[in-house]
C-alpha cells in the first residue's frame, strides 16, 4: 500500500510548485484524498491559522481538537446552523463550477488604510478564508510590512523603522476593534474598513479577552 507520506513531486510542473503532493495528511492508508469544496482538506494537519487564538469568545476551554475543528467548520462553511450533506466531502459534486459555489457570498470590498501611508487599498474580504490569508495579502500590498508574532496579537511591523502596527477594523456599529477577536466569518460580515494603526496609538480599544491556547513564544 502506498505510504501516507506522499512526498514525490510532479516532474514538469509548469504551473508552480505543487505543494499538495508533499503535504502530510492524516488518514487510513488507501483512503483517497478528499477535499471539502471550499478547498480545505479533511484530515490534514491544521495550519497555524487554525491554532492561533481565534476563539476568544468562548469561556476558559482549552483549545482542543474538537473545538478547533468545529470552529474551522463554522468558519469555512458559513454558519453553524446549516447541516451538510455528505456532498461536502465529495470532490466535484454536485457538479458546480468554483465561480458558482460562491454565489451565496457577497463580494466584500473594504478599504484598508495604513497610518502614515499616503494611499488606501481595497481588498475583497471574500477572497480570503482566514486571518492569516488576509494578513499575508496586506503584507504583499503594503510591501514595507512584515507579519510577526503569529501566536499573539495580529501585528505587522515595518522593519525599516521598527514601527509596529496593529490591525484594527471598524465594525457595523461604528466601533473600532482588534482584528482577530471574532471568528473569521463574523469578521467578514461585520467589517466595514480596516486600519493598520500604530501600536502606540492602539490604546483604548476594546480589551482582548485572555488567550486560551498556551503561548509558547
Amino acid at each position: 500500500m502506498s505510504p501516507e507520506n506522499r512526498n514525490y513531486l510532479p516532474e514538469s510542473d509548469v504551473v508552480g510548485l505543487n505543494l499538495k503532493e508533499t503535504e502530510l495528511t492524516l488518514g487510513l492508508p488507501g483512503d483517497t484524498r478528499v477535499t471539502m469544496d471550499t478547498g480545505v482538506k479533511l484530515g490534514t494537519k491544521r495550519g497555524f491559522s487554525e491554532t492561533i487564538d481565534l476563539n476568544l469568545g468562548r469561556s476558559n476551554v482549552k483549545c482542543d481538537d474538537k473545538v478547533c475543528d468545529d470552529e474551522l467548520e463554522n468558519d469555512v462553511l458559513g454558519g453553524a446552523t446549516k447541516s451538510l450533506t455528505a456532498n461536502a466531502q465529495l470532490v466535484g459534486w454536485p457538479p458546480v463550477r468554483a465561480s458558482r459555489k460562491n454565489v451565496m457570498k457577497s463580494c466584500k470590498f473594504i478599504k484598508v488604510a495604513v497610518d502614515g501611508a499616503p494611499y488606501l487599498r481595497k481588498v475583497d474580504l471574500e477572497m480570503y478564508n482566514s486571518y492569516q490569508q488576509l494578513l499575508s495579502a496586506l503584507e504583499d500590498m503594503f510591501s514595507c510590512l512584515t507579519i510577526r508574532n503569529y501566536m499573539s496579537e495580529k501585528k505587522l511591523m515595518d522593519p525599516a523603522n521598527g514601527v509596529e502596527y496593529v490591525a484594527t477594523y471598524e465594525d457595523r456599529d461604528g466601533d473600532w476593534m482588534l482584528v482577530g477577536d471574532v471568528p473569521w466569518k463574523m469578521f467578514v460580515e461585520s467589517c466595514k474598513r480596516v486600519r493598520l494603526m500604530k501600536s502606540s496609538e492602539a490604546i483604548g480599544l476594546a480589551p482582548r479577552t485572555p488567550q486560551k491556547c498556551s503561548s509558547t513564544t
Binding site: A88, S99, M127
Partner: protein
Amino acid sequence: MKMMMGSSFPEEVLEHVFSFIERDKDRNAISTVCQSWYEIERWSRRRVFVGNCYAVSPLILIKRFPDVRCLELKGKPHFADFNLVPEGWGAYVSPWIAAASTAYPWLEEIRLKRMVISDDSLELISKSFKNFKVLVLSSCEGFSTEGLAAIAANCRNLRELDLRESEVEDLNQSSGHWLSHFPDNYTSLVSLNIACLNSEVSFTALERLVGRCPNLRTLRLNRAVPLDRLAILLRRAPQLVELGTGEASDLRPDVFSNLSGAFSGCKELKSLSGFWDVAPGYLPVVYPICPRLTSLNLSYAATIQSSDLIKLVSQCHNLQKLWVLDYIEDLGLEALAASCKDLRELRVFPSEPFGAEPNVLLTEQGLVSVSEGCPKLHSVLYFCRQMSNDALRTIARNRPNMTRFRLCIIEPRTPDYLNHQSLDVGFGAIVEHCKDLRRLSLSGLLTDRVFEYIGTYGKKLEMLSVAFAGDSDLGLHHVLSGCENLRKLEIRDCPFGDKALLANAAKLETMRSLWMSSCSVSFGACKLLGQKMPRLNVEVIDERGPPGSRPESCPVEKLYIYRTISGQRFDMPGFVWTKDENSALGLS
C-alpha cells in the same frame, strides 16, 4: 471521369465554390473526393477546430492547413470544471502559439477552452499577428493582467476580448491598469467580457475606451464596477446589445434615477447578465428593457428572490435563454412557462449545493411546467433535489425536440421520490422520445437498465455524463456498443471495470475521449489497452504514486483515454502514467 472533372474547372473556380462551404464536416468530406480537391481545400481552409489539443500536433496542423486564420482549441476534459483534474495535468497552449506565430502570420482569431495560457504566450500573440481580431479564453488559466496589457497595447485591430470564466491572476501593481494600455487611437472594440476579473479595473480607462469605440456591442463588466459607474458607461455606449452589470448592493435613489435614464437610452439591449448582489429595489430600471430581452443570466444574482424573479421574467416575452438560481422556485418557473413562449434554453443552478435540506421550493414540477409551456425548449440544465419517473416521462413526451438534457439531482443515488424505484424508466423515456438528443447528463438512482435504454435509443447522442450509477460492466457495455454517435463519455463513481472497456476498445477510437474516475478499471487493463491501441493515449491519473507499485488488479483513481494521431505527449506531470512510461520503468 474523376480526372476530367478535376481539370475542367480552374482552381480558382473550385476555391470560390469551396468558400461557401463552411462546416468542418463538409470540408472534410470534399477533401476526400480526389487529390486536387484535397489540395485546394487544404490551402483554402481558414477555420480549424481542434477538440482535443493532444489529438493532433501543431506541426501536423500546419502541414495540412498552411493558411489558417481562425484557430479553436480545447484542452482539459470537462470534469476539470469540477476540480477532478489535478493541477498541472496539461493543456498548455504555448507550443501552439509558438508554432502559429511563424506559420500563420495572418491569424485573426484564437479561441481556447480549458487551456493553460501564459503571459508570454499572450505577448507573443500580441506581437505575431498583425491582423489579430478575436481572443476568447473560456475557462482558461495561467495568465495575469500583464498578459492582457500586452494584448491591449499591441493588437491594433482587436475586435473581441472575451475572458469568460477564466482565472486571471491579479498582480497588484498593474491589475487595474491593463485597460489603459489600449492606445488612444484604438477604436475597434466590438466585444469585451471581463466578468471573471476579481480585481478592479481602472474606471477612467474603461470609460474612455467605451466612449471611443462606436462599434461596441457587448460589454460584460466585472463585479467591481459599481452601479453609478455603470450609468456613465451606458450613456457612452447606448448602442450596446449585450450587457453584464457589476455589483449593485447599495440602493440609492439618485443612482436609481440616473440608471433608469441610462437604461432607457439603450434601445438595442437584448442580453443582460451580472447582477451580483443586486439590491432588488434596482430591478425596475430594467423593466423597460425586458420586452426586448432574448437572453438573461441571473445565475449570480443571489439577492433576488422568487417574487422579484417572477416580476422580471413575466415581462420578458421574447426571452430565449434564461440562466437563473433555484430561487425562482416552481412558482417562478410556472410564470416563465406562461410568459416566455419563445424560450429555448433554461439553466437552473443551485443556490445552496451543499445544504442537506432543500432551501427553496423547487422540485421536478418546475421543469415539468416549463416543458409544457415552452414549445421551443430544447436545452436544459436543472439542479433539483427530487425527481420522479412520471415527471421525466411527461417532460419527454412534452418535448421530443429536446437536444440537451442535463439533470442533476443533488444527492447521489436519489430514487423516484414517489415510488422509491430507480429512475431508469424516466431517463429511458427521455432517450426514447427525444430522438435528436445530443447531450445527456444522468443522476439519481440508476441501474444497468438505464444504459440499456440509452444504448438502444440514444442514436444521436454525442455526449453522456454519468455519476453514481449502474451495477456492472454491462451498463458501460450498452453505451459503448449502442451509441453510434458517441464522442465524449465521462463517468465518475460507477462500478464499471475492465470487461466493457476492453470489449469495446475499438469504439474508443471513434470517440474524442473517455473519462473514468473512481470506477473499477484496473491498472492491468489500462496497460493492455494502451498496448493494443496505438492510436489511443491511455492516461492513468493517479496521485497515489506509481501504479506499478500496487497490484495490477488495483483500480486506478482516474483514467483519461483519447484518440490521437500525434502519439504520446511530452508534457505529462508526475501523476500521469501511460504505457510507455510503464515499459520504460520495466514494470510488467
